[in-house]
């Protein structure tokens, strides 16, 4: 098991190397370039040349790439051209918010999606089945930002159940430790701060969870229907086991394999989805920051973001592969 994890983590190296190459080439080939971003359209050619010299953009491309990789290894992602602060610092402040949001969204999607998909399969062809299959189709169709606005309009502006924006009420003066606000509140025993942060998470997390929820419902349903027809379920029935045992021990566990795969694939997509959700809810995570960086051609920030997504993706899928070996002994790793 340990060797498997190490091997998978080592696989990160070539992945990241390839990615760095792609990023480097892609960013240099974009029209405009960083000097335009800094000076705007009115800079004189002399000013442009000065900036290019300062940033090392006039050196041979290989030298530039070598420097780029060296700095990346030291986790120095450069300075944001729009906020003038180190990209790493910005990320340390903002990334925890996004992680909180995606984890909450995933908990909602899995916590509702798997039971609902299972019930839909058991009541196949009846109301609950049609409702959840139809509902999940709507869930997939509605764009995240639109759902975000609708939720905001109903639940915060009309009903005032949830706050409409932000991560926490700033007047609470909560202590910051890790920048995971809920975790901070629990660690410092500021229960009201933790609850408030959680409260702020509800609406954006629901908006973000809609698509993964819909997909998980459908995959669970299809998978359960398939497993119900398996011979070993008939064997379990022939043993006279209670319906409860047949369901939990024989059906559900076998039905979880495809669901686990899809959760791994969805988790990566959630980070990208967070960009839109955070913008709608003025949620100061990494997503809103990146959305701004795209408009500003803030290359160091974009690069850092893409690298983080890649790392998270690899790590999440490592977790999924590990969960396989708990579910299915046939793929158990040694």
């Amino acid at each position: 098991m340990f060797r498997f994890i190490v091997r998978r983590l080592l696989q990160l190296i070539p992945t990241l190397f390839g990615l760095s190459l792609l990023l480097f080439i892609w960013l240099r080939r974009l029209p405009g370039g960083p000097e335009t971003a800094i000076l705007g359209e009115r800079g004189t050619p002399e000013m442009r040349a000065a900036i290019r010299r300062n940033m090392g953009l006039d050196e041979p491309i290989l030298v530039q790439y070598g420097r780029f990789v060296r700095r990346m290894i030291k986790l120095d992602l450069g300075t944001s051209t729009s906020t003038k602060r180190a990209v790493t610092t910005e990320f340390i402040e903002r990334f925890p918010g996004t992680v909180e949001l995606t984890i909450t969204a995933m908990v909602i999607a899995i916590g509702i999606g798997i039971p609902l998909g299972y019930l839909a399969a058991r009541r196949r062809g009846r109301f609950l089945d049609h409702a959840s299959v139809g509902g999940s189709l709507i869930g997939i169709c509605i764009p995240v930002f639109f759902l975000g606005y609708v939720l905001k309009a109903i639940f915060s502006e009309n009903l005032h159940w949830f706050p409409s924006s932000g991560r926490q009420d700033p007047t609470l003066g909560a202590t910051r430790v890790t920048n995971f606000f809920v975790l901070d509140g629990l660690m410092t025993r500021e229960w009201d701060a933790a609850a408030d942060a959680l409260w702020h998470l509800v609406l954006p997390a629901i908006a973000l969870a809609s698509i993964p929820l819909a997909i998980i419902v459908r995959i669970t349903r299809a998978s359960v229907l398939e497993v119900l027809n398996e011979d070993f379920v008939r064997t379990a029935e022939a043993k006279g086991l209670t319906e409860q045992t047949v369901r939990s021990r024989h059906v559900l566990r076998n039905a979880m394999l495809p669901v686990a795969t899809s959760i791994g694939l969805l988790a990566g997509g959630l980070l990208s989805g967070a960009v839109l959700t955070e913008t709608v809810f003025a949620f100061s995570g990494i997503g809103a920051f990146v959305a701004e960086a795209i408009g500003q051609r803030d290359y160091p920030v974009l690069m850092g973001f893409i690298l983080i997504i890649a790392v998270v993706y690899v790590l999440v899928n490592l977790l999924v592969d590990l969960s396989y070996s708990f579910i299915d002994p046939r793929v158990r790793v040694r």
Partner: protein, 337 residues
């Protein structure tokens, strides 16, 4: 009174916009305590559906209709509610299936798959259950049972898997064991071992066995009474020896004739029954086998043949049976002579 008395069992699958399929169409037979009874026929003749209907294991779907009776020890199994059925399954009636790999749960160790029966019906838990499970595996001839309990189905060979399934089936010493083609998915050598094991278990414990098979070799080896099914009906019932010596129904004759023989001359052709099960006449229109039958006469079509009982305790459903010197059909009970 027999242990299991199946009377006029019928199973119909109806689909909207299609003609309903009579998979089983009035099947009657009985199994005495300790007896080995065979249900024999080609694929699609309704033998598996019959056994699943008795067990109450037919997939629940709209349009499924089960009629008739299956009386086990005084109780009609078809009338039971789900809960009482679950109490009987695995304890009084157990079943072994065709494909041992797909019939075992791939993600659960063999041990739990055995002990769950013990826990459910005999209230055994923990060490006691594990010990009993090891004893059961040992009894069905699995070497090193303690280690096997921790293993998963994919780590066992085909024969071992079928032995494990048999262990689960006999865990509660059922009074009736239904084996649905238990050797079809196995090698020939393993087949013989599994049949030998079943024979031994039946002999030692006095369990009755309902053996469902298309393999006449299996029938010849262990069955006491044979019921030959065609098109969802029993077409001939007889004790094993008389059936092999003097088959009366042309379909039985065809089945016996189509068994390849080792002592046949080189280049001698196999002798199959012409046509396939698809060439099936609906029973109300006459004998279902008529389109494929070599002894077809005009009387075969028009009305379904009645079951004819002979004085020596056999019965067949044919108006022009294979002649056997010295036997006279008994007068039919229903009709005035």
């Amino acid at each position: 009174m027999s242990l299991l008395e199946v009377d006029d069992l019928s199973v119909t699958f109806a689909r909207r916009g299609q003609r309903p399929v009579h998979a089983v169409d009035g099947v009657s037979f009985s199994v005495d305590a300790g007896e080995v009874v065979g249900l024999v026929g080609e694929s699609g003749c309704g033998k598996s559906v019959t056994s699943l209907a008795i067990m109450g294991l037919l997939p629940k779907q709209p349009g499924l209709r089960v009629g008739g009776k299956a009386v086990f020890d005084g109780t009609d199994l078809l009338q039971l509610d789900d809960r009482s059925r679950r109490d009987i399954r695995g304890r009084d009636i157990a079943m072994i299936f065709q494909d041992p790999l797909s019939s075992l749960n791939p993600v659960i160790p063999i041990g739990l798959q055995v002990t769950e029966v013990l826990t459910r019906h005999r209230g055994m838990k923990g060490d006691a259950a594990a010990k009993e499970a090891a004893a059961l595996l040992d009894r069905v001839g699995i070497p090193d049972p303690k280690r096997r309990l921790k293993e998963y189905p994919h780590q066992l060979s085909g024969g071992m898997r079928q032995r494990a399934l048999i262990a689960m089936a006999v865990a509660c010493q059922p009074r009736l064991l239904i084996a649905d083609e238990p050797t079809t998915a196995l090698d020939v050598t393993i087949q013989a071992q599994i049949l030998e094991l079943l024979k031994e278990l039946v002999r030692d414990s006095g369990t009755a066995l309902l053996m469902i098979t298309h393999d006449l070799g299996v029938v010849a080896g262990m069955v006491d009474t044979v019921n030959v099914l065609y098109g969802g009906r029993v077409v001939e019932t007889a004790r094993r020896r008389p059936l092999f010596r003097e088959p009366r129904h042309p379909y039985t004759v065809g089945l016996l004739g189509s068994v390849p023989r080792l002592d046949a001359g080189r280049g001698e052709k196999l002798n199959p029954i012409p046509g396939s099960v698809r060439d099936l006449l609906p029973w109300p229109d006459g004998c279902a086998f008529a389109p494929r039958c070599a002894r077809r006469i005009d009387d075969c079509v028009g009305q379904p043949p009645e079951l004819v009982h002979t004085y020596d305790g056999r019965s067949y459903r044919c108006v022009n049976p294979e002649p056997v010197p010295g036997t006279v059909p008994a007068p039919r009970e229903e009709e005035p002579a």
